[in-house]
């Protein structure tokens, strides 16, 4: 995919020596947290009317950099200029006043308030609120930028995409000149993401500076004018999006080595049925039927909140099936969970890897024992020594950093924690594996490691992969099931290109 942007506005040379005054300029900005140098001499210019993507792996220092621009942290070294004037922000308020606005990954919206109230917060202009006038202003802005938001709506009733547009409205209302988006597509459907990109282009065309933080390569290429790569707190490269030949090229520039995103899939012959769901209905589920065989990956795709959660809870034994039948490893649901074996049966990689999958205050050995303790039990006692040995092996085999089993779960980064959880669950040699959003928030190399493991797991298990990432589903899965409002809208092999084309509309509930 290549970039689609107005041609001929800028050439490669003017990233560094433009005659245009940058809206924001960072010169040698550094920030240290204890032992860690989060930002190391960062120099970056942000120009009006352009979209700059900031690309980096987890922990590369993107968030720290943005927090300094938003006035939440002060730099330890270097300085920031806004429109040619040096500034030192003491608070977010000053950054807002200087025209810098942020859309955080976790929206900063009050769900219990209306759109108008959220937009107004901190910008009320007078003690007594003139709500009618404010609503009119908000509606006008929403129309002018084609955001389609009703000023009266309660934010809690809006979809994620709409909430994001409320965040954009906030910035437009404050007349921010620099709009910074932190992983804006993480919560959006593909269709919503497309309309976000359209909004970004329209704002950029009206002279706003846009900064787009992401680690999704395709979307960076499709929306950005220029790309800066952040690695280990330093800017490792800055170039125009048009200089990049392909996502693989960009991935190479990003991690500094080749990452195989086109994963080798060797075919595995499908074996016995390990999971059979027949006409399952219940809270959030409406007549769901599918089966899963050993040797295949079935991807369950859809916008979050369309029944995936409820389905996983039933399959993993957290909630009872309502009506219908669930057969796991050729046993009825109730029977299976009555006498479940820790090994050779069911393994689950929950979405919430830091909350459900692990206990943050326990070390890796104890976290290993969370799901495998029966394997280390001697009557009432646990063989902790053997558990430590196994934990050490797992950490080495799955390249978990830091490689110290005494480390507590919270000390690991998201990617390393996920690799550990995956290792632990594979140690149980499951025949049925449920993986929920296994690579959410992971960087490219961790994602690749997780994908390789899941593909390997097919040899002995059937894998139910619940994901919101379509490219992940299409890369890994043998078959895809699309969910919408608790129903399976379509179930087909990934080789069925005609059906695959329609996934987007199926996810939005369009059957035709």
């Amino acid at each position: 995919m290549t970039a689609q942007r107005p041609a001929g506005r800028h050439t490669a040379a003017d990233i560094s020596l433009a005659d245009v005054l940058p809206q924001v300029r960072l010169s040698g900005v550094s920030k240290r947290f204890g032992q860690i140098l989060a930002n190391d001499g960062i120099t970056l210019s942000i120009y009006p009317g352009r979209i700059k993507a900031l690309l980096g792996e987890n922990g590369a220092g993107k968030s720290t950099l943005m927090a300094m621009l938003a006035g939440r942290f002060k730099p330890d070294g270097g300085h920031i200029e806004v429109a040619g004037t040096r500034v030192a922000f003491d608070s977010p308020r000053q950054a807002i006043a200087a025209g810098i606005g942020m859309v955080y990954q976790h929206f900063m919206l009050v769900e219990n308030m209306t759109v108008t109230e959220n937009v107004l917060l901190g910008q009320e202009g007078g003690f007594v609120l003139n709500l009618a006038q404010m609503r009119r202003k908000v509606n006008e802005l929403s129309e002018r930028f084609g955001l389609g938001i009703d000023a009266r709506a309660r934010v809690g009733d809006l979809s994620m995409g709409e909430r994001q547009r409320v965040e954009i409205l906030k910035l437009l209302y404050r007349e921010s000149r620099v709009l910074i988006f932190d992983e804006p597509t993480a919560v959006l459907t593909p269709v919503e993401a497309e309309s976000l990109f359209a909004a970004l282009r329209s704002m950029s065309a009206q002279g706003k500076s846009i900064v787009f933080i992401s680690h999704k390569l395709e979307e960076v290429l499709s929306v950005a004018d220029e790309i800066a790569i952040l690695r280990k707190g330093r800017i490792e490269g800055e170039f125009l999006a048009s200089e990049v030949s392909s996502p693989a090229d960009l991935a190479r520039r990003m991690v500094g080595r080749d990452v195989v995103l086109e994963i080798e899939r060797e075919a595995v012959a499908p074996g016995r049925v390990v999971l059979d769901v027949r006409n399952l209905s219940g809270p959030g589920l409406d007549d769901v039927s599918f089966d899963l065989r050993r040797g295949e990956i079935l991807a369950l795709v859809g916008v979050a909140g369309n029944g995936q959660q409820q389905l996983v809870e039933v399959v993993c034994g957290l909630s009872r099936p309502g009506s219908g039948h669930v057969t796991i490893l050729e046993q009825d649901w109730a029977k299976f969970f009555q006498s479940r074996d820790w090994k050779g049966a069911l393994a689950w990689i929950p979405e919430d890897r830091a909350g459900l999958a692990t206990c943050r205050g326990l070390n890796l050995t104890d976290n290993l024992l969370l799901t495998t303790r029966q394997g280390f039990a001697q009557g009432q006692w646990l063989e902790r020594g053997r558990a430590s040995t196994v934990a050490t092996d797992l950490v080495r085999e799955h390249n978990v950093q830091p490689g110290n089993i005494e480390a507590q779960a919270w000390q690991l980064s998201g990617g390393n924690l996920q690799k550990f959880v995956l290792g632990r669950e594979l140690y149980r040699e499951p025949r049925l594996m449920v993986a929920e959003q296994p690579t959410q928030g992971l960087d490219v190399s961790a994602t690749e490691a997780v994908w390789q493991r899941l593909l390997l797991a097919r040899k002995t298990a059937g894998v139910l992969l619940v994901t919101g990432d379509l490219s992940e589903a299409l890369t890994l899965a043998d078959r895809v099931a699309v969910m919408f409002r608790g129903r399976v809208m379509g179930l087909f092999p990934v080789t069925d290109t005609a059906q695959v084309e329609r996934i987007g509309s199926l996810m939005a509930g369009l059957k035709a």
Binding site: F33, A70, G71, R72, F73, S91, P92, R93, Q94, A95, I96, A97, M102, Y104, H106, M108, L109, V110, E111, N112, M113, E117, N118, L120, L121, G122, Q123, E124, G125, G126, F127, V128, L129, L131, G156, K170
Partner: protein, 311 residues
């Protein structure tokens, strides 16, 4: 019961409900900004003494009333210090405040036990007080009751129609959003707590200056605890707080009348009535809130959750 008696009972209910309404609205303000303050009982106890003391020594009922409010704000400033600066647990700090306020008022008030004060007397509102029934119930009260009629509207207006109210609610619902909008949610919470404490203090001073016209230990008589429960009953809405306060005022007045009339029911059972009602109300509210999912109950999303520093 004769009609006269019923009217007298209802008039007494309005008066008994007034301090509860002051305190309920005060606690509501505090909770709307995200701070659970279980210390209302202590705040009211201390303020009822402070109000009495200032009125007693200056002779000005109004100074006494304001002193009650100020002492309430001061005590709640302590709660803010613990919760906003030192990030102490709000429940523990609130309970400590309750015990502290009651103890302090008893300690300082011992020499004055049983002494009376002029305080506020009843003023009949011209014209309105001549209305049949309603006039006798609502418009032959003291001025603080009339003030209290306007208070729910004022609190509603502050919360929903002013920038300060918007900011306070943001601090109670999602402090991070307030911070991202360039506000200081901790300061807002301190402000909400202290403004709420001021109202609770006014409620306490009402008891000694306008209701009982004297000082004695235990004057607040559990009204503070009732106020905390009423905020939940009211779903954090000022209008519903009025209903709750009148209901409780009614039960309190009724129980006093019954005792005065000398029924066979043991007085300890009668004294229990308001608290039995409190429990019933909480059970009822919890059941309703569950039916309507948490959001509809109106509890601020970040109520009782302290704001942790970043980084």
């Amino acid at each position: 019961m004769s009609p006269e008696l019923v009217i007298a009972l209802l008039a007494a209910a309005v008066q008994a409900g007034t301090p509860i309404l002051y305190a309920t609205l005060g606690e509501m303000l505090s909770e709307k900004s995200g701070v659970l303050n279980l210390g209302v009982e202590g705040v009211m106890a201390f303020a009822s003494f402070a109000g009495f003391f200032v009125c007693h020594s200056t002779g000005s009922a109004w100074l006494g009333f304001l002193a009650g409010g100020a002492s309430g704000a001061l005590l709640c400033g302590l709660h803010s210090l613990v919760c906003q600066v030192f990030l102490g647990n709000q429940v523990v700090s609130g309970l400590a405040l309750a015990i502290f306020g009651i103890g302090l008022s008893n300690f300082l008030g011992t020499p004055y036990v049983g002494q009376g004060t002029e305080g506020f007397s009843k003023i009949a509102v011209p014209l309105l007080s001549d209305l049949p029934v309603l006039g006798q119930i609502f418009f032959r009260q003291d001025i603080l009751v009339y003030l209290c009629y306007a208070l729910p509207v004022a609190v509603w207006f502050l919360l929903n129609r002013t920038s300060l109210g918007l900011r306070l609610r943001a601090a109670g619902e999602m402090p991070a959003a307030a911070a991202a909008a360039g506000l200081n949610p901790r300061k807002l919470r301190a402000l909400g707590t202290m403004a709420g404490g001021f109202l609770c203090g006014l409620g306490g001073a009402y008891v000694s200056l306008a209701h009982m016209h004297l000082w004695t230990t235990g004057l607040s008589g559990g009204r503070g605890w009732v106020a905390v429960a009423l905020v939940i009953f009211a779903f954090w809405r000022p209008g519903r707080a009025v209903v709750g306060a009148l209901l409780f005022g009614g039960v309190m007045a009724f129980q006093l009348r019954l005792q005065a009339m000398g029924t066979n029911v043991p007085s300890s059972l009668l004294l229990m009535l308001p608290y039995t009602l409190t429990i019933l109300v909480l059970v009822f509210t919890a059941a309703r809130a569950r039916g309507a999912r948490g959001v509809a109950s109106g509890a601020p999303a970040a109520l009782g959750v302290n704001i942790e520093p970043e980084g």
